[in-house]
């Protein structure tokens, strides 16, 4: 079910959306989604995981990162800092007791919460893939661009990559960021079975993976 939560932004506090399964139970899981295209590719999987958790007695909250999905904020105004502030605000508002950070979500989740990180991604690897997509499509169009020059320009002035307008702060932040997990358990794809849905442009569905993820979290949260 959709719910709103107050999120800090450049124009003050504004409402952002979250998908919540909230029955005021003891374990309340904040899910921090992956970044960029991987967010879209994993959305069905994560909501299906929320349904599984609901059946296993766990509340969950999947908030939009500010500037992403249904957010009224501009993507071009975002940085890792604004996403960290947003996720910390969501954790407070919904009184989350645990966190699951997925892929690039591991760069921006509230580290004070216990929980899990699923296949955490380095910021530099995320940025490299976006830069590569741009240089490859430039080459197909007969232009020559290289990643090093683009990165330098992006760190100073921001950059358009794969349809996203990245601020200079976001480029610089991604280039340096590593997963923030401190004691949260790393879950690997092999524990879920199947192949990683975030790699494919048309991910399809794999309910068994969502069910496995929900079972792991429900079991370990109550252990």
């Amino acid at each position: 079910m959709p719910a709103t939560w107050p999120c800090p932004g450049p124009a003050g506090i504004g409402d952002e959306l979250a998908v919540v399964f909230d029955r005021a139970r003891a374990v309340r899981l904040l899910i921090v989604p992956p970044l960029f295209e991987e967010m879209n590719r994993t959305r069905r999987m994560l909501i299906e995981t929320q349904r599984g958790l609901d059946g296993l007695g766990v509340d969950s909250i999947l908030p939009d990162l500010p500037g992403c999905n249904e957010s009224p904020q501009a993507f071009s105004a975002q940085s890792l800092g604004s996403w960290r502030d947003g996720m910390a605000a969501a954790a407070r508002h919904f009184a989350a007791t645990h966190v699951l950070a997925v892929r690039g979500g591991a760069l921006v989740f509230p580290t004070r919460l216990p929980g899990w990180v699923l296949e955490p991604a380095k910021g530099a690897a995320i940025l490299r893939q976006l830069l590569r997509a741009r240089t490859l499509s430039a080459r197909e169009a007969g232009l020559e661009e290289n990643s090093a020059d683009l990165l330098e320009a992006g760190r100073n002035h921001g950059l358009e990559l794969a349809g996203y307008r990245l601020s200079a702060a976001l480029v610089a932040g991604l280039d340096a960021a590593v997963p923030q997990d401190e004691g949260q358990r790393v879950i690997r794809q092999s524990e879920l079975g199947g192949s990683p849905l975030w790699l494919r442009s048309e991910p399809g569905e794999d309910p068994a993976q969502s069910a496995a993820l929900a079972r792991i979290i429900a079991a370990e949260a109550s252990a």
Binding site: R132, R200, S201
Partner: protein, 89 residues
């Protein structure tokens, strides 16, 4: 398992994961099977994802200027590139 056949198996799995080929299509790939330009799934965004995943799983670094049609033309080309990068003669 020798490292060489391990590389072959890992690359088939990786192509299956990234392109959603399914295990039957991935197993049926031969050295002459066309990749870039032959598989509609392989657009520039997918190539970018594929290269990043190759770097991650094979622990190698691929430079911009190494990426071209020769390297990604066929399954055999890509396998030979990765083997050379891994020092498998």
């Amino acid at each position: 398992m020798t490292q060489t056949s391990e590389t072959d198996t890992m690359l088939r799995t990786l192509l299956s994961d990234v392109l959603g080929l399914g295990s039957a299509r991935a197993t049926a790939l031969t050295a002459e099977s066309g990749l870039f330009g032959a598989l509609p799934e392989l657009d520039s965004m997918a190539v970018a994802g594929l290269l990043t995943e190759i770097e991650d799983r094979f622990d190698i670094v691929i430079d911009d200027d190494e990426v071209d049609g020769d390297m990604l033309g066929t399954f055999g080309d890509l396998l030979a590139f990765i083997r050379a990068k891994r020092g498998e003669g």
